[in-house]
Symmetry: C2
Subunit: 349 residues, 2 copies
């Protein structure tokens, strides 16, 4: 597949990719009313901000897949958590997630997110800084309202870890060949820590035992790692209009993710790819497209996807063993969680 400059089509606002949407929509049926409540609160939060912040917030929350709320609501319901509390945690986690996206887009200077202009481009850098800060504060307020100090501790820990992950990635020199272990540590911090913390909070809100909370956390971590690896693979093989951004964005910035690192690890560093991805590489669209083809042809994409699959399998195994109370609808909730895990890694196929 060739990379070329992309005419951005607006993505369908909200929800999952069109071909997977019907199946996922059916899986999410048991928590549909709760997801709608989460959506309602998110919109209400945006409405209650003073102008022009309200408009920025509506723009920022639109089009999200709400994967994190879905995981929280499914896992928390499986553990018989209180629906209102779970919805509040789901809103706070999604709000935190949107805040980090606004700031990440500034850090990466990304012009487009979900097929729409990013906040700092459409408004300004100063508005991006403040809108992100406001959402961080709103998320913290939402968790504080639940009056559970342990929950607040997990929440605050997530944010420091995400920042550390982002800072590490930002200070990865262009073309730097990270060790595979360093890559794995970095994606755990920047992506998986939020989903791990979200799952732990879902279990805490449901009064899960400490052992259950730790298993829930591990489930989220595995899911988060699988998700990020798949995302990194999609930058090599994805469907551009659906991604909402051109292929090869990472390579063009000199950021080497798992497929490139596996390719180099297998001894591919000495040929043409290094000319593209090295510190002084030629990062023209043509050169990047050629590098993508070489990496694809090497089998490194399949190896990366296999690693994502392995993480997803580990998440599914935790789910099977998870000690959950007997309740009506458990089977449907567990099936939906399985479906979400499977969807996460199947995006790359």
């Amino acid at each position: 597949m060739m990379s070329k400059p992309l005419e951005h089509e607006p993505q369908p606002v909200g929800r999952f990719a069109p071909d997977l949407q019907p199946r996922l929509s059916a899986l999410l049926a048991p928590i549909r009313p709760m997801l709608e409540e989460v959506e309602r609160i998110l919109v209400e939060e945006a409405d209650s901000a003073p102008p022009p912040l309200d408009e920025m917030l509506h723009h920022a929350i639109a089009g999200g897949k709400r994967m994190r709320p879905a995981v929280i609501l499914l896992l928390g319901s499986l553990l018989s958590g209180d629906p209102d509390h779970l919805a509040q945690v789901a809103v706070a986690v999604e709000t935190l997630h949107v805040a980090t996206l606004i700031h990440d887009d500034m850090v990466d200077d990304s012009p487009v997110r979900r097929g729409h202009e990013t906040i700092h481009v459409r408004w300004s850098v100063r508005d991006g800084v403040l809108a992100g800060d406001y959402l961080l504060a709103t998320a913290a307020k939402g968790i504080a309202a639940l009056e559970d100090p342990q929950l607040m501790g997990v929440f605050a820990e997530i944010l420091t870890t995400v920042c550390i992950g982002q800072i590490r990635e930002t200070h990865t020199a262009p073309g730097e060949i990270r060790g595979l272990d360093v890559y794995r540590r970095d994606i755990e911090a920047k992506t998986a820590s939020l989903i791990a913390g979200a799952c732990e909070m879902a279990a805490m809100t449901s009064n899960g035992s400490e052992a259950v909370c730790m298993r829930a956390r591990e489930f989220g971590k595995r899911l988060g790692v699988a998700f990020q690896i798949t995302d990194d693979v999609l930058d090599f093989v994805g469907n551009e209009p659906r991604l909402g951004k051109p292929l090869g964005s990472d390579l063009r910035q000199g950021l080497l993710t798992l497929p490139a690192l596996l390719y180099i690890d297998k001894g591919g560093a000495d040929d043409g790819v290094l000319k593209v991805i090295g510190a002084d590489g030629d990062r023209s669209p043509e050169a990047v497209a050629a590098a993508i083809e070489m990496i694809q042809a090497s089998g490194a994409i399949d190896a990366a996807l296999a690693e994502a699959q392995e993480q997803a399998q580990a998440a599914l195994a935790i789910l099977t063993e998870l000690d959950t109370p007997e309740r009506t609808g458990s089977v449907a909730l567990r099936d939906a969680l399985r479906g979400l895990v499977t969807y996460t890694v199947s995006r790359g196929r």
Copy 2:
């Protein structure tokens, strides 16, 4: 006094302006060991961040006057609060304050703070975003560790209010003539809410009654308003090397603060000043210096300082009436708080 482009001299790092330092230093003697503990924890926080974030954080915390920690420690000690808890609140509030300064400097694109280059200039905008976020998270973690949900609620509320105040000011059009009430609302949100919340938290940490917590909050609000008005006046009459920035910075950005707004309110809007401060004003250094002279000559500076004095008097009155437990050293603590309030407004003279 004429405004002219400034050669920035580095400010003495840390502590108050040199001429006031000996007196304040004596006043702060009762809480000196606690202030040193706060300083130690702030340095430890910076040390514990991964490179190059640690260096940015050391840069960001250096040279602060620690006014907010001083107020928290004095007020909390007067209310017989636990020294360790008070130190933790003081560290969290100062950490939050430094985080907002980093982001504010990006929002205002200020190149210099406390006589040193700002983070986004010395490093980069992306580093400024992330360093600020990391400190916000660290502050939230510090408060979460105290395991008091009400405290966390006040803390989260502060941050949303500060953001709203900043956004309002940012979206004040250049040269916009805000009503005096709008100006007062804006400085309450962007500056006074943090000091008000800090004082409320100091009282909460000391198990103050709700009435005492509300009085403490009101004390902080008055002090914060007095502080911000004085800061705004200093932009017209301050000592440039000590300010660490050129006079007239606000006017040059088209931001009208109390002295300019009082001048216009008294009917001065139709003359030469409007040519400088209006929407399409001539904001050259010479024009700004001329506008400053007109505003000074009108008596608007004195009127603004009188308003700051009035707020400081209200803060002192609350302090006199505040119901505090009997304890050794109360007189010294109360005197020190009075001294801080007086110092805050005397900076403008």
